[in-house]
């Protein structure tokens, strides 16, 4: 039924009987997010709308200095070697992609001249190729013209295994060819519903100048002088870079967008911590913008009283979740803990998993910790790339959880801890060392205690927890605990990559050196089928239904207990008009930033 309704809606938009904004709002209501809704329209035969700009200044420059504070300073300026978004953000001051996403999830053209669509013939109806027209007259900062060769080169550079770029996953399976100086064609190996991944956005999309990188492809990649002194096409020209400390740039007088940029100079300072970054922007006004302010909300509210700045929020798709281990972390089979050959002794009872979900008080976590930066949710998929299912719900009730456990035969023992068949409800719950996470742990532990579940809390240094170190037992993919909590950031506005992580075949095991991405080691045939089908599904509506189904399967099995849908939090001076999108990096829309006195 959803199928039919959506199809008729797309037809209405195509016939002009329905406003596209109304369509996207309706889509959001059924769980589709804006960039995806737009791409669905595009594949449904309706041209994608270009993002609108709120930019007001009528001339280039004159805005003085823009001072940005990144509490984790960029350490290198080649986006394809970036470790973390900080490096992508720093590079993005100078390099540009073909397009990026605005706060509504619409595409904004940067180096491309036109948004590909089926109407203008640039997007193949079978989803197997897309053609991009480049903006004419764009120049690199050193005066050389930007052309299709640069785009093709960026593809060759990133996909080369010897270059070892962190973006190779986006480029290795596609083919990019030059049609003419201002046209490139991307061919996909199979129908690709999400066709705007390569060359779009700050994560993987930034395009490098061929004439400066051609000699440094492959094993010589580290020697490129431009790794530290970027020459891009962006609104600001590179001046100085001190890794981890400072990036400086000046206005690019030949920038290809009219009246832009507004600021004459730009500075990005690194180092310190989030709280003092918030203070320097909101309270003392030393800086104009502070990145990723992960600070408890009551601290921010206090800083904002009579301050010179404020916090701003952008909705993305990051979910803070608690994952349940489906294998036994305490038994070793063939020298491997949490082996696929075992079953979790307590979680093999679905009642225990359901009860645990009921013991996570999302509302309290929101009130006490995340405040304006969090939303309670029952879904694993909440965001840009995802379909937010309407079929799920969450509830916090110690009584109901207790009853559930009672009915399942888990009776409190002499020490108040429930047990059944000699197995006690004792759990180890781990997370990375991080204030909000550890407070959440405490809230969950308290509720569990009241329901007769003993929870032992464990926190691991983030650099260990998130590492791929095979020798360390405390990494999240090894998951030598019963529960673990963190979030996996979304790197693109499409669910495919994110959801493929939990295929049965992707389980993290000793055999694949725990490089597998399915760390709960959950095995579900229906899920696998849905994801594999969605991957090839060109019909956007059917695809939507498949991902909603996949999310609901996770919810039914309580693979994850979603705690919060987290918003991006930034600090900005009151006069600054930054453009922050939940589906893009903070510096992606920098060309549209200005100040209003």
């Amino acid at each position: 039924m959803l199928d039919k309704e959506l199809r008729s809606m797309i037809d209405k938009v195509a016939d002009g009987k329905m406003n596209r904004r109304a369509f996207i709002q309706r889509m959001a209501a059924v769980g589709l997010t804006a960039p995806l809704a737009n791409q669905i329209l595009a594949l449904g035969g309706v041209a994608m709308a270009e993002g609108t700009s709120t930019y007001k200044p009528t001339k280039r420059g004159g805005g003085g200095a823009l001072k940005l504070l990144w509490w984790q300073g960029p350490t290198l300026l080649n986006p394809h070697f970036a470790t973390g978004t900080k490096d992508q953000d720093g590079s993005r001051l100078f390099y540009e992609p073909l397009g990026c996403w605005d706060p509504d999830g619409n595409m904004k053209l940067v180096l491309a001249a036109e948004i590909p669509s089926i109407q203008n013939g640039l997007l193949a109806a079978d989803g197997k190729s897309v053609t991009w027209k480049l903006k004419p007259g764009v120049k690199w900062h050193d005066g050389k013209p930007f052309s299709a060769d640069d785009v093709v080169f960026t593809w060759q550079y990133t996909k080369d295994p010897a270059t070892a770029t962190v973006t190779s996953g986006v480029y290795r399976d596609i083919v990019v060819e030059k049609i003419d100086d201002l046209t490139v064609k991307i061919t996909f190996p199979k129908p690709t519903p999400f066709w705007a991944d390569a060359f779009v956005g700050a994560g993987a999309g930034q395009i490098l100048p061929k004439h400066l990188f051609a000699d440094y492809i492959g094993s010589k990649s580290r020697e490129a002088p431009t790794n530290l002194a970027p020459v891009g096409t962006g609104p600001y020209k590179f001046v100085e870079f001190k890794p981890g400390d400072l990036i400086r740039g000046v206005i690019n007088p030949d920038y290809h967008m009219s009246n832009r940029p507004y600021f004459d100079t730009i500075e990005m300072k690194g180092g310190g911590d989030a709280v003092s970054a918030a203070r320097a922007v909101i309270q003392t006004g030393e800086y104009d913008f502070g990145w990723n302010i992960q600070v408890e909300d009551d601290v921010l509210l206090r800083l904002e009283k009579g301050g010179k700045g404020k916090t701003i929020y952008a909705v993305g798709g990051d979910t803070e979740f608690i994952a349940l281990n489906f294998t036994d972390p305490n038994v070793e089979v063939d020298g491997e803990r949490s082996s696929m050959k075992t079953k979790h002794p307590l979680f093999s009872d679905p009642a225990v998993r359901k009860a645990l979900s009921m013991l996570v008080d999302r509302e309290s976590v929101k009130k006490a910790i995340y405040g304006r930066a969090g939303r309670t949710t029952a879904n694993f998929l909440n965001g840009p790339e995802k379909f937010v299912s309407k079929n799920t719900s969450w509830e916090f009730s110690i009584e109901k959880a207790s009853k559930l456990l009672d009915d399942a035969g888990w009776k409190p023992g002499a020490d108040g801890i429930r047990e059944k068949d000699g197995k006690k409800l004792k759990l180890v719950y781990q997370t990375s060392i991080n204030g909000p996470r550890q407070k959440t742990q405490a809230i969950v532990k308290q509720a569990c205690q009241k329901a007769g579940i003993d929870v032992e809390l464990k926190s691991v240094v983030a650099s260990v927890f998130f590492s791929s170190d095979v020798a360390n037992p405390d990494t999240y993919p090894k998951f030598y605990a019963d529960l673990e909590m963190f979030q996996i950031p979304l790197s693109q506005p499409d669910p495919s990559q994110h959801m493929r992580r939990y295929l049965s075949t992707a389980a993290a095991t000793k055999e694949n050196k725990w490089q597998g991405t399915n760390f709960p080691r959950w095995v579900n045939k229906d899920y696998d089928e849905a994801i594999n089908a969605a991957d090839m599904e060109m019909d956007p509506i059917k695809r939507a239904a498949l991902y909603i189904k996949a999310n609901d399967l996770m919810w039914q099995d309580t693979v994850f207990i979603p705690v919060q849908h987290r918003l991006k939090v930034e600090a900005a001076a009151n006069s600054l008009r930054p453009v922050i999108s939940g589906w893009a990096n903070e510096t992606d829309n920098l060309f549209d930033w200005y100040r209003e006195e």
């Binding site: 295994p161 962190v166 580290r222 400072l246 030393e286 791929s468 170190d469």
Partner: protein, 319 residues
């Protein structure tokens, strides 16, 4: 004497080798790897992670990696940072000026406070001045710099709005205004660190003075009818300064090593903050280089102190 110096030098070389070996092994065995961020990035296929590890030699056995490092170091090649892919010596040189300026000023401030206060307190032990100085010194080194740092920020930056609390390496001014700005932004970190150092040093100076002031030759000098000032400055201070000079010499490496906490609070891009961010990122070559430089400085200044001892008191070099 020259034999003594030679002997000391001969001991320094194996100790440096020993230190480097210990550092290397500890770092190699430490958990985590420099590509931890990539583990949660779905765009990075496992084979790219493996390629990066192989490229940076992370999968070689420890002894091989150590030998590589040692031979490269002997050729003056410090290696490059895994995280920023910049040569390590470039990184350190970039960070050194801020550290020397801020931490060095703090040391000078500490000396300027500690010596006069310590000396004067020792001449009048248990007087009101001595008691106040002692109390303040006690409070001073009991308060950690991360506490006083934030306190200073709240008072001078937030409430009074006099001083900036983000240290900038890029002041857009020239001439005298640049100098003034440089001083202005250094006031808080220098005060925080300087007062902390001064507190412990004051107590040290005081006790060194008290040790000497009770000696017979001082009484003799007084008996000869010399004035109090002359006795204190010429007879007592000169001798009392020997251990103080040693203490200062041994603290010199700290000036180069930076003050990790203070640099972090005020965002001073110094060696200390480089070290801490490199440790957090598991950037082994940088951690190795910084800590090794630090070890070299400790050994060097120990050597200098030993030589100074030998020169001051010839009996030491004969033993």
């Amino acid at each position: 004497m020259s034999q003594y110096v030679l002997r000391r030098l001969m001991i320094a070389i194996p100790s440096l080798l020993g230190i480097s070996l210990v550092l290397f092994v500890v770092l190699a065995l430490a958990p985590g790897d420099p590509f931890s961020e990539l583990a949660t990035n779905p765009n990075v296929p496992p084979e790219v992670q493996a390629a990066l590890r192989a490229k940076f030699g992370l999968d070689d056995p420890i002894y091989l990696r150590y030998l590589h490092w040692l031979s490269a170091m002997a050729h003056g090649d410090w290696g490059f940072s895994f995280v920023s892919r910049v040569d390590v010596d470039t990184l350190i040189l970039q960070r050194l000026p801020a550290t020397l300026y801020v931490i060095g000023s703090a040391q000078i401030l500490a000396l300027l406070i500690a010596i006069p206060v310590g000396v004067y307190a020792a001449t009048k032990p248990y007087s009101l001045f001595d008691q106040i100085a002692n109390t303040l010194a006690f409070v001073g080194f009991s308060l950690p710099t991360f506490f006083t740092g934030i306190l200073f920020i709240l008072i001078f930056s937030v409430t009074l709005d006099w001083l900036p609390f983000v240290y900038s390496t890029d002041i857009k001014a020239t001439g005298i205004r640049w100098v003034l700005e440089m001083i202005r932004q250094a006031i808080m970190p220098v005060m925080v660190l300087g007062l902390f150092q001064a507190a412990s040093m004051t107590r040290f100076v005081r006790s060194a003075m008290l040790d000497v002031i009770r000696l017979d030759y001082v009484t003799t000098a007084r008996a000869k009818g010399l004035g109090q000032a002359k006795v204190i400055v010429k007879h007592v201070m000169r001798n009392a300064m020997i251990p103080v000079v040693t203490l200062i010499a041994l603290q010199m490496p700290a000036v180069f090593g930076g003050a990790i906490v203070t640099e972090q609070i005020f965002r001073i891009p110094g060696i200390g903050s480089l070290l801490i961010s490199s440790i957090l990122a598991n950037d082994t070559p940088v951690v190795m280089a910084v800590t090794f430089v630090f070890a070299c400085l400790v050994v060097l200044f120990n050597l200098i102190a030993d030589v100074l001892y030998g020169w001051l008191d010839p009996r030491i070099s004969l033993r």
